[in-house]
Symmetry: D2
Subunit: 499 residues, 4 copies
């Protein structure tokens, strides 16, 4: 399943594959989780689900649906059917196959020791191998998600405690994963040994019901913006390779993989994370603005106006404008009212394409030398259309500045990117790219400039690069077990059910 073309989502942006949220010891845990998932909506819009646990006896409760969090959980009766003081939730961005409800997380199963729900953000690089072995052993897969591998590994583990079984399972998987796990005994958070995907811990201090003592609520979330919406305080990032076990006694931490330097995904700063999140010690908005500043320094240009490609290009463009002294203007307007289905163009109007989302603010562009600031170029199709639109609106020059280095490699750690052959930067020089997208000039931030903007004045240290930047450098920090094999013979998809 890895490296597949992304099909319906082939719209020239990398896509985050998921957001996770968990909460322990909260009134309205189901409602709180819905709010948290709403704040994480940008990490996945195709489906969403919540599993709650009610220790008062009614056990586990699940609701999942296709669509936005507000649509799936907008009915008070649905929230009311998720009772309990603990819950985990998941937003899904589907990368392969039809988005069927079987694939929507959290996945839930009943074991001998009780129920267990898992939400997973990331991607396993040996999932196909593991799946084949599990099927050979007699395991029946319900879904086509990598994440189900965790469930079966836990089920067949010979250890007795949930934590030991989970650790046993984690030792067999390779890949990038941030997990939230809910059992009747506690809420568990896991970040893979390199901490590629984010996971943070928050707490809500609240009076207990009798008003005497105070047991906090604990929150796990992909990003800190999900803490704010539920009124939680940021406590800390879960560390790479750390497992936190949260129950009424508090938060306990184990590190089955020992200590290891992390490789947090640098693209979270560039594009995925919400600007108001703080991840791995850096505010995302500030990071983007500093990237813009750095970019302006590296590739200054004379121009009349700095125009962001909305919405993700805005902070970098502000930084670029400040550093360059050139005015910042919203020269491109984004139409946010795009329905769930979209107007299917007839042949005649197909080439109006990108204009459904963006339109040129002609008055700010006409007769001007325009610097466009965007976050990345993947296939280049969108960039070409944007440049064309800006030129049609009367720009005399169009210069494109990109707040990331050229994307030359695919991601196998949980981001939906096209295969290498379709990455513009994998096959063309910057000059060729400029010509292909029709820009008068094109510049990317350098990899060292990117590290500098993220607070590493010395740039990228090739020995211990601190971030996972494989999409820019090809330096994959986690082995690509399935991929390597795929170069010989493609791993068969073992479950093809289409219902």
């Amino acid at each position: 399943m890895l490296g597949e073309p992304s099909g319906p989502h082939d719209d020239d942006k990398p896509h985050e594959e998921c957001g996770v949220f968990g909460i322990w010891n909260a009134h309205d845990a189901g409602a709180m989780t819905a709010l948290g998932l709403h704040a994480l909506q940008h990490r996945g819009q195709e489906a969403t689900g919540i599993v709650s646990f009610d220790k008062q006896g009614s056990g586990f409760h699940t609701h999942k649906g296709l669509g936005l969090v507000g649509d799936v959980f907008g009915d008070a009766r649905i929230i009311g059917a998720l009772p309990g003081h603990a819950a985990v939730g998941h937003n899904r961005y589907a990368t392969t196959g039809a988005t069927v409800i079987r694939n929507v997380q959290p996945l839930y199963a009943e074991f001998e020791f009780g129920g267990l729900a898992v939400g997973h953000n990331g991607n396993l690089t040996n999932a196909a191998n593991l799946r084949r072995a599990l099927v050979r052993r007699g395991c029946i897969f319900q879904s086509t998600t990598d994440s189900e591998v965790f469930i079966h590994l836990i089920a067949i583990s010979l250890y007795s405690s949930v934590t030991d079984r989970l650790t046993d399972a984690l030792k067999q998987v390779i890949g990038a994963y941030s997990l939230v796990v809910l059992t009747q005994e506690g809420l568990i958070g896991v970040r893979d040994p390199l901490g590629v995907r984010p996971l943070i811990l928050g707490r809500i201090d609240q009076p207990s019901e009798n008003g005497l003592e105070t047991k906090p609520s604990w929150v796990l979330a992909s990003e800190s913006c999900a803490l704010d919406i539920v009124g939680a305080e940021f406590e800390r990032d879960i560390e790479p390779g750390e497992i936190v076990i949260i129950n009424d006694d508090g938060v306990r931490s184990i590190r089955p993989f020992g200590n290891q330097a992390g490789r947090f995904c640098v693209f979270e700063y560039i594009y995925f994370a919400r600007p108001d999140s703080v991840l791995d010690g850096h505010g995302v908005y500030e990071a983007r603005k500093r990237i813009g500043v750095e970019l302006a320094r590296e590739s200054a240009i004379e121009a009349d106006v700095i125009v962001p490609v909305p919405d993700s290009g805005v902070p970098s463009a502000i930084g670029f404008a400040v550093a360059s002294g050139i005015p910042f203007e919203l020269g491109i307007i984004r139409n946010h009212y795009v329905g769930r289905t979209f107007i299917e163009p007839t042949d005649q109007i197909r080439n109006l394409g990108v204009k459904l989302k963006h339109s040129a603010n002609k008055a700010m562009i006409e007769g001007k030398r325009v610097v466009l600031v965007d976050d990345s170029i993947v296939r280049g199709t969108t960039s070409r259309k944007i440049v064309e639109m800006v030129r049609a609106a009367g720009a005399t020059e169009v210069h494109m500045r990109i707040s990331s280095p050229p994307t030359t490699h695919s991601c196998f750690y949980g981001i939906d990117t096209p295969e290498r052959g379709k990455l513009l930067a994998a096959n063309h020089s910057v000059e060729e790219m400029a010509r292909l997208i029709g820009a008068d000039s094109l510049a990317f931030i350098s990899i060292d400039g990117l590290y500098r903007a993220l607070g590493r004045p010395e740039g990228r240290d090739p020995e211990t690069p601190h971030y996972c930047d494989a999409c820019f450098t090809g330096d994959y920090p986690i082995s690509l077990a399935d991929i390597d094999e795929n170069s010989r013979a493609r791993a068969p998809v073992l479950v093809s059910e289409a219902s």
Copy 2:
């Protein structure tokens, strides 16, 4: 899950729990299966599914849905998405839990050796025990159906061929089951050692595509009425304990359980099967008519008119009328236009209840002595309302005649009956029942009369009774493993997911 009150379906009739259909070597196998399921619609109306197999390379295809066959498979695109020359299908009558799509059959799974789909009519009496053991071993259940037990037993079997794995699985289950199984190698039909549930074999002789030789299509179905609709000829009943393996070489039969006298469900004749089906050598309509004749002999009464309770009482009433010489009239009219949801009565009109389905044809009833002929009395609530309605329409006397013996025991072999405490005949004498339903007289056919009507002039032989008649006699021919245990402690439901 066994012996549960039937919840929303609590409307005073036993309910068949499923119909199955399979076809091998047919153009339009998916469409043919939809037709077959349509003919078997009376065996289950809540959900339906088809799995087809396309040996040309596209593999297995599934479509399932809640509702009638015509609704779920009414769109040509859906049928078009079920390509291939072989298919199995299933109609479901849900007896427990919410009818969720996960529980809709055929169940499908990918194994090491390839895909396999199973449709099951019947009920396992050791399913809870097996399930517990399988979960302990690390198996993850997707559904709450008994039928999934087959899937896991096949998955973990150490044998290598599909047939051996299936046989291995069958040797561990106890219960009533007729199965249709589809693999890439063939279509398999299975009937449990006592042949409690029906399964028949049909063939369609057809010219091959080049017109030279003729390879037949083979059909498996719960009842022969499903053969007629697809133009197949009745070949034979699958025998109790027989496994038939159908592929392009023809039909092969194995009998892993040795030879054993069968115990076909006698209630199929009385109520479940469609009147135009022929099962176990008897036409259902004729059998019902003969039961009516026998009933008239056993419990003659002076009256003016014989009125069937529609629709199932009609053939017996015709037999009763012929034997008694009393005119047959449609004195009760059934309204067939009952929507999927039903008018929810307000308090004031709640007692109009049964009148939504039935109405008295006053002109045929007023001033007359009426004999009502019905097939069974379960709780008695419907009978009471029918008698009351007929009396309100002006009948001077109302005599109830029932074409089955008193239903004194619950069924654990695939029929949805209330628990014993709710069976009117389990707790009351016939005289008490007559009083409770308000009839001037009440008579059931005797168990020997029933056997006579089915061609056994000597009546029921208690040593080898030929039919399963446990609901009338309490003589359960298959051990009730879960039930026995349940008398001590109820087997927990292991999967409680509600999505």
Copy 3:
């Protein structure tokens, strides 16, 4: 719109075009109306609607929907949103155009004097003329139904009282109509001057809320079967040309058209009405049985078994069997589980056609001389398939007996029949018809035999025929204004909106 081919409903049966129901002074008037419409479901299954009136101040309330009564009104909240002590309802069988919600009755409008809702069963023969004139005057039509003409004529009438305005409107329309009209002042029932379509009056005597005095509820309905379901007593038929005005003072009657002999639709007895209804003094079931008796006398035949074409042929077949002494058997089984959408056959199985609804009960047919009894032959397509099916099931002879005279003319008074060119009997002799449908013999009841069966021993009196039998005789008792003009130039459809 008249005389159009019936499009999707082209299934070889005439179709009733509507059922109406009204109630005054009843608790739960909305729920009672839903029940009444459920009992009238056979008169129209495509859409249904209710308008209630709450004199306590909340005014008029409407709910309409496509589908069966049970589906549209199955939710208690919907019934709860129809408060008040009076209501009118309508079942629609759409004959032209898409069934859009705008066309679903009762139609409702606000006038200067207040609200008014109308439900209409029948067809106006000068609707196109009237519509053209009204549009010329500036009236805007909302729907494509004939019935809306009533609304506009009432709106523009210069009289002041509702009754006078209604009478004014009625004097301008030509056609067949039974109306139920609800205003804040009362419930009004209208039957056209010849009383072609049925309308009956019932009452429910009930204690008033304080238990002292008794004011009855009054019910209007297309058929008496709708009285039974709400517990009302049959009071009388509304007379041809009568207007009844029902309010808290009781029932008042006016006859603006003077006295005139009626021409009730004879086809109501043959096919449309429910067997348990009593119309114009005759029980429908008995009438059908007597027709069967008369038919057996007129066209006796040696045979082994009398088989009805279900469901409408059953009473006549019983009569035929009694009169002929040949046994009655259910030799054809009808599948009542036909979903809302229907299995779309592929080319290969398209000729399985009619078998989706009917199947032969082979055991009752094989080797026998069969008399099939059906109610009518319209196009002949169904008859041909039925004969073919019965022959394929092994009948040695197939004789068709029809409980109506040959249908040689189209109906323009509210029954959906094909245009004359498509009526088999309009273009072929009985012998040709027998050959075309493949029967060994074919006989229809004579027109005099039909009248005898309906209690006119002298047969049909051509001067005062008592019934409208235009479809058999071409004797149209109401002028066909639009049709006559259509022979010159087709009346344009004035509203073509498709939303």
Copy 4:
């Protein structure tokens, strides 16, 4: 209906009530209209509709639906069912009653002279009076929209040409209206005598089908942004009181009301129109930015950061930042993923309220003196929550600057504002308002400042103010016929149908 509280939309912003679009002589007129409506989505999101006209003979075609343009017209089959070379469309923002499909525009009716479709942006101030008179005359209303009054006035006009009938109708209505009207003879655009609501004309020059001559397509739209998306060039604003008649001969203009100085709605610049539109000679984005500049001049304040309330506050904030020299930052992040239904908060989390849409970007706010720039204060509830959120994020001072004068009066010309009693500025001084919303300081732009920003250096001329600014000044340029009467007795709603 006027002056009602806005019910479900009561979220503290005025709401535009509609967008209109029309096109003549275009291939794919239906698809082009869908695109145009998509670009006008910000003017109404609750429902949308298109009527196309096919002069090739298939006449008028309609499709309407509730929801966004992309959802309603996202299916190619729906667009395919809107054939023809001309079309009109409408986006609706419902202000009163349930949004039922009957009320969705364009309204369509068949007249003696043929079909006519009308889309209306605005509000009539004598609609209730006219409606009452029309009902008295016998007109039946289908909808509860003011717009239907146009239809009936056209229908009953004694003139013969469409243009004369339309002019006749316009002379009877009072209010604000921009209309697009489609007949088989042409596309008509109308702007009310004062030109309160916008309407612009565009053209697409295209080769004819034979490539020889060139007949342009003509476009009418509420805003110029709808021209860009379909590739049309801006031609000119329709003038106040102008009627343009577009057909294959070109564009003809009539001015039945003579020449009059216009009063274009100034709020279009402040909030409603899309930033990339040019209206009445001013680019909207630039106008907002100049307002921000003017606002900074009028109410300068020492601060660390200028933060817009997204999205409408952004251009003014940029202007404010430029003028003040204080840095501009996105200190508030808007979550654009709000589903159609919304998470219903439990009691505990209800006060998280506004945070579902907005979140504070803490890193940009903490420890800073913040100037918030927003476009208006209506009830003040949102402002209070925003200030509270910013303060909670650590702002040391919060100063609110508003890019419009205080909203002291309700709008009766097509904008959904609360009644006066609920307008914060109608009842409180600026100082009180600052206290109520919790800001350290609060300032609005002056009315003269607003006019200066819009290119009138002398400020507002009370004699000929150029704009309609009634919401700020109470100077209503069009008489409020219904409102004046309503002060005595409220106009009854004449159609209350709820289906």
